[in-house]
Subunit: 220 residues, 2 copies
DNA sequence: AATAATTTTTAGATTTACCTAAAAATATAA
DNA sequence: TTATATTTTTAGGTAAATCTAAAAATTATT
């Protein structure tokens, strides 16, 4: 049984490893909002417990055991987010902090019954995939909106930025999950993107376009 | 903002104070499954923070602030228990431990929306009253089954013992909340009670009868 | 390859929530 | 009311997770 702190480290190492292979001490420290010296201490403990492989000065990688533990936490986090949005009518920008707490509740029965209660959802309110109880994710593939070409159509399936500010912004623009869009133009000047959404044409910044994920339907 | 530990102390002091006025160090230690010396440490901290009034060697009493904090935790605990039973199909003997964890989740929005989602329940799966968001309890009054006289009728409205063993036992006997009962006889030998429940006559021990709470309908 | 910059680790403290053992205060009994 | 028992507190310490400052290792730059 791991402490909340250990669980948070595992989750963060897992997410950092999705991008890069070896996870660096400083990167963990930044995510955990703590100091590198503290991370080194915790890394040693996690290595001791068999959750990570660790070579001094070389960063860490999750072991099989560590990966499973991390995925379990991700699963809980995302299921609770679904609960908050689907059942308690939270907005998608309001759920993350509460889920950060709920993800640490220790009860296998609880999470399995919650999963069932929610109808075994495959993705969370931000489009992120929810692993099943065996830790398996449904295959997901997406194209960043920024990478679509003029004339391409697609459906919004996720976001790669979870800040409340960003999500509220999308909400206001009507850019929510499941919406159909089409790329009308890309502005030379600032790289902003003209898109067609629900019959209306709007302009979104490059920065916003980078963090919207779509399932492209290819050219129209 | 209090730590989990502080919250648990407050809750336990609150429950102990329901019976006796001043709460003693040893009583708290027993409930917290810790040592009296540790309790003294924590008591000082809680007094420092204004949650309890404390005079050395004289035990503690909750301040207004402390009482409110404690009631908030009780409210969360009981609402989560309702959620687990009503929505996730947990049995009434399975919910306590999970609720012990869930009660510490810090989000006012969460608990208010949960309350609404559950239909503003007035009591939890064990018949214990749920305070509203202002900390007010619906008036409850009950008669212990053991105190009913032969011929009295009543409805089971609660239990004063929450152990899984006891609750499972009641379940097996069909003695669940809302059931109508009638006292047929009291055995001289061991004080056990003969009751009529759902048309069947059963015998329950004095110990069991002590912990069943009823709303007596008076004599039949 | 030597130097500079960056990253990571160690050393030594701090805080929180515990603990044991012994002292002090209070309550009970003779 | 003195002696005994119980309760409570103090004193001093431990373990987990953090910190700062300084040393060591690695990586990047000239
Ligand atoms: Mn989240
Ligand atoms: Mn999410
Ligand atoms: Mn309970
Ligand atoms: Mn209860």
């Amino acid at each position: 049984m791991q402490s909340f702190t250990e669980e948070n480290y595992l989750k963060i190492i897992y997410h950092l490893a999705e991008n890069t292979g070896n996870v660096q001490t400083n990167a963990i420290a930044e995510q955990m909002q703590t100091k590198p010296a503290s991370v080194t201490d915790m890394i040693k403990k996690l290595a001791e417990k068999g959750f990570v492989d660790y070579i001094k000065y070389q960063g860490v990688t999750l072991t099989e055991k560590g990966r499973n533990a991390a995925i379990e936490i991700v699963r809980k986090h995302r299921l609770w987010e679904v609960f908050l949005v689907d059942k308690l009518n939270f907005k998608w920008d309001e759920v993350h902090d509460v889920a950060e707490e709920l993800e640490h509740i220790k009860s296998t029965a609880l999470i399995e019954r919650l999963d069932e209660f929610l109808g075994f959802p495959k993705s969370d309110p931000h489009g992120d995939p929810i692993p099943d109880k065996n830790g398996r994710f449904a295959k997901t593939q997406f194209t960043k909106l920024i990478d679509l070409k003029i004339g391409d159509q697609g459906t919004i399936t996720g976001v790669s930025q979870h800040s409340s500010a960003f999500l509220k912004h999308l909400e206001k623009l009507g850019l929510t999950l499941g919406k159909q869009i089409e790329i009308n133009d890309v502005t030379d000047f600032d790289g902003s993107v003209e898109i067609l959404i629900a019959g209306k044409q709007i302009n979104i910044s490059r920065e916003v376009a980078k963090h919207i994920l779509t399932s492209s339907n290819g050219k129209n």
